[in-house]
Amino acid sequence: MNITTIKSIKDIPQEENLSPGTPTCAGCGGLLSLRHCLKVLGEKIVVVNAAGCFTLLAVYPFTPFKSSWLYTAMACAPAGAQGIRDALDILIRKGRLDSKENLKVVVLTGDGVAYDIGLASTSGALYRNLDFYYICSDNEAYGNTGFQSSGATPFASKTGTTPIGRISPTGLELSKKNLFEIWRSHTPPYLATISPAHPVDLINKFKKAEQYKGPKLFINLSPCPAGWVTDPSHSAKFARLAVDTGIWALKEAIYGEVKHTVVPKSFKPVEEYLKGQGRFAHLFKPVRQEETLKRIQEMVDQYWDNVCSRESRKR
C-alpha cells in the first residue's frame, strides 16, 4: 500500500471533524492532538470514550463529534470497542450492512484508564488482536478530578495526592510507568507516541497506521494548564520542550520494532522543561533541589544512550 506522507503544516487537511465549543479547559493539549487525529480518522468512526477529561466532550445535549459516541466506565472501553467491532463485522457478513458503511472503532481514554484502571481490558483487546484505534491522552495524572497521581505521573511531580511537605520535599517518589513497552510486549501491529507540538509527525503516524489490521495504539503527552499549573498559552511550548529535552521520545513500533521518528539534533537540558511548570516549582524554590534535578536528567540521558547504541548497532 502506498502511503502519502505530508511534509509541512501547510499539507495538514483543512476539514475539521471536531467542532469548537467543547467544555474542556482553555489550552487543552489533549484536545489539540485529538483534533489532528480526527482529521485523519475522518467522519466514519465510532468513538468509545472511557471516563476521564474527555467525558466533557459530549455533555448532553451537545456533541462536538460528527460521528457516533459511546461512553463507558473507566475500566472497559476496549471491551466496548470489541462489542462494536463484532457487531459491525457480523452485520457486514450477513449482508445487513454494506461494507462501504463500515466504521473505524476508536477508543479515547486518559492516562488513568490507560496506565492503571483499564490496563487489563486493553491487554485483553491486544491479545485478541482487536481491530481498533486507541488514543491515550496522557496528562500525567487524574486531571478531571483534581490532578491526583496516576501510574503516568512522572518522578518529582506535585499532585493532589503527593503534596510537597517537610517529609516529602520531592513530590512523587515513584517513576512513570513505561506504557509503550508494556504495550509493545504484546507486539501490536502499530504503536506510537505523539505530541501536539508535532502535528505533521502525528498525522503521518495515523496515515501509516491505517494500513494495519489489528490494534493501533497512540500515546499523546497532553499539556494540562490546570494540573501542570502553566499558562494556557504555553501548552504548545511545553509540549515542544518535552520533545526537545528528550523527556517525551517520539517513536513508533511496527510489530514490536522501535524506530524514533523525531530525534532532536541537540538535547536541551530537562530544566528548561521543568522550569515554569507549577507542578515542578518546588524543585527550584525555595531551595534548588540539585539531587532531584540531576536524577531526572540522568534518567533521560540513560534512555537516549540506550537508544543511540541500539539504533547504531542496527545500522
Binding site: S19, G21, G27, T55, P61, P199, P232
Partner: protein, 297 residues
C-alpha cells in the same frame, strides 16, 4: 443569617473568595459555612460558591437559592443561561459585578432592579498581581459589603492563601490588592430578610428503563451552540499587514476556532474562542495581539 453567593469562572477564584469571606467572618466571632459547586467542567466554565454567616449555629445545608447578596466575578455570566447569577436574589439584595462599566449602565442593560456595585477588579488584579486571579480581591470586596473588619480580612487571607501560594512576595501582593479593593468600596448595610425556610414535599422519582432515562444525542457537531466565547479575558486580534499566512495559528488552536478566509488570512470564531492565547504565543512574526475583552457579545 446572611446568605451570599459567588459566581465566577473555573480558575478565577470564586471558591477561594467564598472561603476568605467565611474565614474572615469566623475570625470576627460568627458561625460560618462556605463551599463551592461545580460539575465535571473546569477552567473557564461557570461555577458558583456559597457562604453562610450567622450569629447562631447554622443548621441549614445545601446550595443557596435565595441569597442576600451576589458577587459576580465575570460580567459575561449575567446573560449566561448556565449560570443565572441573579436568580432568587432578595428584594433588598446587593449585586456586585466585576466590570469596567458603571452600575447605572449595568442596571439598564440587564434590567436589574436591586442595588448594583461595580468595580473592574480584573484590571486591578492585572495591574497589581500580573494575573487575572480574583480570589483575594473579591474576598476583600465581599468582606467590605458584609461589614467585616480589615484585620479579620488580613488574617483570613493569610490563612487561606498561604496554603496555596508558596511565594511570599505573591502572597503579599494579594494582601495589598485585597486591601485596595476593600477600601475602594463604600461601606453599606445589607438588610437581612427573615428566614426563608419552607418545608419541601418529598417527591419520588419512578424507575425508568434505560431507553427513557438515558439521554441520547441524535445530532452531530452541535457544540458551537454552547458559545464558549465568554470564557476569555483576552481575545486574539490579527494584524494582516504582518501576517505571512504561515498557518501556525490555525494548526495550534485546540478548539478548531481559527479558519482561513478566501485570501488565505486566518480569522477566529469569537463566539467559541476560549482565549487560551496559544495562537498569540506561537505566531512566529507576532502578528496576533491579545486584547482585553470588554464584553463577549
Amino acid at each position: 443569617m446572611l446568605r451570599l453567593r459567588f459566581h465566577g469562572r473555573g480558575g478565577q477564584g470564586a471558591k477561594i473568595a467564598s472561603r476568605i469571606l467565611g474565614t474572615a467572618a469566623f475570625f470576627e466571632g460568627y458561625y460560618a459555612q462556605d463551599f463551592p459547586l461545580y460539575g465535571a467542567e473546569r477552567r473557564g466554565a461557570p461555577i458558583s460558591a456559597f457562604t453562610r454567616i450567622s450569629k447562631e449555629p447554622i443548621l441549614e445545608r445545601g446550595i443557596i437559592a435565595e441569597p442576600d447578596s451576589v458577587f459576580v466575578l465575570d460580567e459575561t455570566l449575567l446573560d449566561d443561561p448556565h449560570a443565572h447569577p441573579l436568580s432568587g436574589l432578595k428584594e433588598h439584595g446587593i449585586v456586585f459585578v466585576n466590570t469596567a462599566r458603571s452600575a447605572v449602565e449595568l442596571k439598564d442593560t440587564y434590567k436589574i432592579s436591586v442595588q448594583v456595585i461595580t468595580l473592574d477588579i480584573t484590571k486591578i488584579s492585572l495591574k497589581m498581581l500580573g494575573k487575572p486571579i480574583l480570589s483575594a480581591l473579591a474576598g476583600g470586596i465581599a468582606a467590605r459589603i458584609v461589614n467585616l473588619g480589615e484585620d479579620s480580612l488580613k488574617k483570613s487571607i493569610e490563612k487561606e492563601l498561604s496554603e496555596i501560594i508558596t511565594e511570599k512576595e505573591f502572597l503579599l501582593k494579594n494582601k495589598e490588592a485585597s486591601q485596595y479593593c476593600f477600601h475602594a468600596i463604600k461601606p453599606i448595610e445589607i438588610k437581612i430578610a427573615k428566614g426563608i425556610h419552607k418545608a419541601n414535599p418529598v417527591i419520588t422519582v419512578p424507575f425508568e428503563t434505560a431507553l427513557i432515562s438515558s439521554p441520547t444525542i441524535y445530532t452531530t457537531g452541535n457544540t458551537p451552540l454552547r458559545k464558549t466565547g465568554n470564557w476569555r479575558v483576552f481575545k486574539p486580534v490579527w494584524n494582516y499587514d504582518i501576517c505571512t499566512k504561515c498557518m501556525v495559528c490555525v494548526v495550534r488552536c485546540p478548539d478548531a476556532c481559527i479558519s482561513v478566509n478566501e485570501d488565505g488570512y486566518p480569522y477566529t470564531d469569537y463566539d467559541n474562542c476560549k482565549g487560551c492565547m496559544i495562537c498569540v504565543e506561537e505566531c512566529p512574526v507576532k502578528a496576533i495581539e491579545g486584547m482585553r475583552e470588554a464584553h463577549a457579545w
